[in-house]
Symmetry: C2
């Protein structure tokens, strides 16, 4: 029935590279496809052959269509019809001899016929999963027939011009209007959609299904919803569970009537991206007590199992995604993602993404680096430089000490790639916020780290998270290493799952509703714990028995 | 709660005049208001006082609103929220200390929150009933608080430039596009809305409820729906039952989110205006066998009672509404609506609407005139002039005989008001089509005129229908005069009822679904009967025993 409208197939290895850059490998997406018996799009295209009208069967075109849908087993009692469909219906059903494809948008408690086309005009239906991060935005294009990811693209959120974190974005929206921030996010999204769609020579109007996964502030802003009360006590978001929207209502480059599912989120500071993460990692369905952290800009934590879910955000900041770090970057070509220092010479050995000349350092690289600097005594446990000031790798940058990761001549750049005292400070504050968060969340339910049976780390900050090094700097707790699982960008993974199946979409709503939110900003003990954690790995040595700093 | 936004009240007598001009007096509207216990608008404004948010009750603004609606007894399980509401919700609920008015659009099987305003910004809610006739359009403005009609306006449908009847309108839409006809109807509607709203110094955005009652072609065209298949065998309309629409989807001058109920109609040639007529006259609820005729452009007939309803259209043409008649006009100021001829001198005595100088003749006037000309022997039973050619009231116009109704000097006009041979022919064809229709419809259910227990005539063609004269010309059957009831413009009356109550809207749908449509255009016997009826009163004298032409 459906014509092929994609003339260029991207080579497997290119797709794999793009997916990896976006934080989830092809194997992961194929595994997720395996979970789905049958793809259930938000916008379902239903091929129908209508009865021919006659004087004895002179019901209206619309009644004829609805009667056929009913016969095909669809519940038409709550199915309405868009006026644009009515306007073209007479021609549409007659253009291919009463053979049509009806496009039905499945909403929460009703449905709507949003398009009816003659069979011959129907094109391959595509889906678009969007990870709308504060720092980065990732887009996957999915073939809605088999569920395969066929294109992908990622870039910085152009809202970054208004500040690194959600608070600054909200302040900017208050000053300049929500619309400005909306347009910025949309321009990044639409550029990515164009890039991903053009690379397969498809048409953006083939995108009929969209899932947006983002934190609460990001989803508010992209939809043009006032977000100012999120940052004011008692921190109220306008919406936590969104109705099914249409692409044209938002402004996303897609079919006007494309169905948009926005991942629900339980609170102002724990949003749909975290619900995506839980959905993807699936611990809400098992009895193992799991501690989950998404190391993005906000550092959201979830603790629980199939019986309860408690969650909080610890304002970790964008350091692990490269934000506010002089040479910080996402895990793109040329990002240092793995690094070791020679014990004596401090000479670095490193790997870059795609083995391209180094042009910065991504989250996993920074964790490695901080751990190596600490263990090899480039810095002390407070993060201060203790390396000799005449060491060839030591330099001053804007008056503050810095470590030279790579000299300009070995890069494609004009400058040395350095890691400054401020960068160390930023990273330390981020990791301290996260660790303090773990602590308070566990304490809230009367437990400690010994209760944690599984620890899941997600985030789009690189592929090779070295758990040992993350523990060394005190980002992750010092528990049995086999309990740790690093699962990449779970926000895009959850969005992709929600694109494939209605049961995943319903699960997402159930997860969001099941979450109890704990607000750290009004929690007196959080600040105390945060201060205690601003030491490498921690002021309380007993919490990190396996870490030995001599 | 509601501010007064209407600064000018129209004097009662002006309203009465406007309503009468539109075909239904004030007494009739007040009687209809009496049928309604409680006004149930399409768009309901619900005042709500929300709980104040706190850290212990930090649900989203939308959840807070929905929770309050639920507490107030509303079914929120099928209630969605428009994205425009979400965009402004945070401000709206805080602008008047969490006191808001939520506007809920009640659709067929779901509902939608389409606006939320701080109490202080809420204005008086108005309704607009529209009789969308092929020839004339009538608009009533209704106070949705008490249901009173507070303003009205009427005018010719500017689509008339594209032809007098629905067939010509469809042909025009095929040639020039549906949009042209849509814009024409909308321009008349919107001018009338402006006129009616301006006269009470209100704002068109206060109109939050709209009902459109029109024949199937008119409703298709005003909604921009392709109508060409209505005129091609097997005469299929695109839509017969419409979903609740929004004013902005149509282009009616009103609140963007105003709810629009379009009267459903059973077939391509029997539409919502006839359903309005049945709803208003109410014979579908009683056991008396009733013959119903709406003498508009199409001449639709219904026969039945509370057990069955059979219907047909007899393409009567617009003569009775003044269309195609040289001096024909609607029942507006200066229209001759009642006329008698002196037996000897043929000198007319007449009444005009509002006693203004004559400037034309409306439907009831024409029925009087034809009857008088026949009885007083100005014409014979074939409609031919038999008056002396030197009679001062006899003249030639474009080579054909004509009767001078009034000389120019007694009017405000430059010309004599005349009634031509062609006018007589048009009127005769119209009445013949209607009478043939009655005949065939009754025959179809195995009955004849003796079975008719009640005969209802509606149409916006004047106030003083002289039944005796209508029988004399053979427009109405020669049955007991007490069975006749003339009930004015029932299309606007039904639209007004549907504006007031959901049970009326549901009844309209039930009436439409209950109707069996008979197609005359493929009915061989109709043509035969039509020919037989082109005689005054009829070729078969026995059908009109009480009419004596010497």
């Amino acid at each position: 029935m459906v014509h092929e409208n994609i003339t260029v197939k991207i080579p497997e290895e290119t797709i794999e590279k793009k997916l990896k850059a976006a934080g989830m490998g092809k194997i992961a997406t194929q595994k997720l496809m395996g979970l789905v018996d049958k793809i259930e799009p938000i916008l379902e295209n239903i091929p129908l052959e209508l009865d021919l009208p006659s004087l004895d069967d002179a019901v209206s075109d619309l009644d004829r269509l609805r009667r056929r849908l009913k016969k095909a087993g669809y519940d038409i009692s709550r199915m309405s019809t868009n006026i644009s469909v009515m306007r073209r219906l007479a021609e549409s059903i007659r253009n291919d001899h009463f053979k049509v494809v009806a496009s039905v948008l499945w909403k929460k408690c009703s449905s709507e016929i949003v398009a009816v086309l003659p069979v011959q005009e129907v094109k391959k239906s595509l889906g678009c999963a969007i990870d709308l991060g504060t720092t980065s935005i990732v887009v996957y294009i999915v073939d809605m027939e088999d569920g395969a990811v066929i294109s992908a693209a990622s870039a910085h959120n152009s809202q970054a011009a208004c500040g690194d974190d959600v608070i600054n974005r909200i302040i900017c929206a208050e000053k300049d209007g929500v619309n400005k921030l909306k347009k910025m996010a949309l321009s990044t999204i639409n550029n990515l959609v164009k890039e991903a769609i053009d690379s397969i020579h498809a048409d953006h109007r083939q995108i009929e299904n969209i899932v947006i996964s983002g934190n609460t502030t990001m989803t508010h802003l992209v939809l043009g919803i006032e977000a100012r009360y999120i940052r004011r006590e008692p921190y109220i978001p306008t919406v936590t569970e969104f109705p099914i929207l249409k692409a044209e209502e938002i402004g996303i480059k897609a079919a006007a009537h494309a169905g948009v599912f926005v991942m629900p989120g339980p609170a102002g500071y724990v949003g749909g991206d975290i619900v995506s993460g839980v959905l993807y990692t699936g611990f809400h369905q098992h009895k193992e007590l799991t501690l989950f952290i998404d190391i993005g800009t906000n550092g959201e934590i979830v603790f629980g199992n199939n019986e309860f879910l408690i969650t909080a955000a610890c304002s970790a900041g964008p350091a692990f995604e490269g934000g506010g770090i002089r040479w910080g970057m996402r895990a793109e070509d040329g990002a240092i993602e793995k690094i070791e220092l020679d014990s004596v010479t401090f000479e670095p050995k490193y790997l870059t993404v795609e083995n391209k000349p180094a042009r910065g350092i991504c989250g996993t690289g920074m964790i490695d680096l901080l751990s190596e600097m600490l263990l090899k005594k480039v810095i002390d446990q407070t993060g201060k430089f203790i390396i000799e000031t005449d060491h060839p790798r030591y330099t001053l940058f804007n008056g503050e000490p810095a470590f030279i990761l790579e000299f300009a001549e070995n890069t494609g750049l004009d400058e040395n790639i350095i890691f400054t005292q401020s960068d160390i400070r930023s990273l330390t504050l981020s990791k301290a916020a996260i660790y303090a968060g773990f602590n308070i969340l566990l304490e809230q339910v009367g437990m400690d780290f010994s209760a944690v049976q599984q620890m899941i780390i997600t985030g789009g900050f690189g592929q090779f998270l070295d758990i040992e090094k993350a523990v060394t700097i005190g980002l992750l707790p010092d528990i049995a290493r086999e309990k740790f699982h690093y699962m990449g960008n779970s926000s895009i993974a959850g969005a992709y799952m929600a694109l494939l199946s209605n049961s995943f979409r319903q699960q997402a709503v159930a997860i969001s509703n099941a979450m109890t939110y704990l607000d750290f900003s009004t929690h007196t003990k959080f600040m105390e714990e945060f201060t205690r954690a601003q030491f490498l790995p921690h002021t309380d040595k007993n919490l990190f028995p396996s870490v030995h700093i001599n």
